[in-house]
Symmetry: C2
Subunit: 200 residues, 2 copies
């Protein structure tokens, strides 16, 4: 006896409710908005999703978001090629770039080691990281994985792999709040974290 | 010197930020989610938006959401044809139907009279309302416009138009919180509002 919507509307509500932070009531509200707003605006959102999925791919070098095979950061030859910053997700590069505290290049792992979720190093972009390091140009690797259990474990695991190559491995300082997410850390805190980085 | 995203990603963030209740930071988060989630899920959302815009149209009789020319409510011959409930938006029908306090039919105005925003009665579905009333079957019109200035004004304006036709005009009771929105009122309050309705 639950009130029923037309099927296309119900389907739209269900799809919106799968977005992070969007509950059933918000999904309904967003769906009504998408039906009521100008048709061109609603369709432009649909097209933007499709275009982003079609055009935005991980950079073939670092894994950051890019609409070209090599991203803007990797294509920027004015950066310091002796510095490499390792992060879990492409979105973390955005947070770090906003601080303007780092002028090297990045490497996106695509996650953190998590035995609980069955994510071992073999599921992350570790081989491509070692390949980059083996070219000999990089002198320091800054571990900017998240300051939580998985991020610390990933950082320690990679440090043990990398140190034998004669490369300095540093960790961003504990200016970042323990247990938090890089994505939600303010830029000043991230700046301090970069400046206070220590060798592992 | 603002950090720049690939264009398709920036465009997706901009489009998401136009949704109600979605600020720049949430838009960024939703965009990253849509890039990271399974491609079929992201594309299914895009398709759901397109399908809803293509299939869901206002009912030709009452203006409620429908994927057929006449909606499920207007097609339901077991309802009381002597009762008509007038609401501002199609989403208000959803809220009212959930209360199960009303067994008549609906009429969606498509907004409220608002001189400040230049919305006069001529921009609302008033002619189609009068046409329905002139058929003589409706004995009572329940005004369920929002309990705010525009909703009250709309209700009084329509009451003055309808009363000369010999039809009783009632207003949902002030169980609904003054200054609020029907969409956010809980079902119990809306039930009281229906039961306590008074002639205008």
């Amino acid at each position: 006896m639950q009130h029923s919507y037309p099927q296309s509307l119900q389907n739209l509500i269900n799809r919106l409710a799968k977005l992070p932070g969007v509950g059933p009531k918000s999904a309904q509200r967003l769906a009504f908005f998408l039906l009521k707003t100008k048709e061109e605006d609603a369709l432009a959102l649909a097209e933007a999703i499709e275009a982003a999925r079609e055009n935005v791919q991980p950079c073939t070098i670092c894994g950051y978001f890019s609409d070209t095979p090599i991203c803007r950061i990797c294509s920027d030859s004015t950066r310091d090629a002796s510095l490499l910053c390792v992060v879990e997700e492409a979105r973390d590069v955005v947070s770090l770039e906003k601080t303007r505290s780092f002028n090297g290049y990045y490497h996106v792992l695509g996650g953190a080691i998590s035995p609980m979720e069955g994510i071992g190093p073999e599921k992350l972009n570790v081989p491509s990281l070692l390949e980059r390091l083996n070219k000999g140009e990089i002198k320091e690797v800054v571990m900017a994985t998240n300051p939580n259990v998985e991020g610390e474990a990933t950082s320690l695991y990679l440090a043990r792999l990398i140190r034998p190559l004669g490369i300095k491995v540093t960790r961003i300082a504990h200016g970042v709040p323990v247990g938090g997410d890089l994505e939600y850390t303010d830029e000043a805190t991230l700046s301090f974290a970069f400046l206070g980085r220590k060798e592992i």
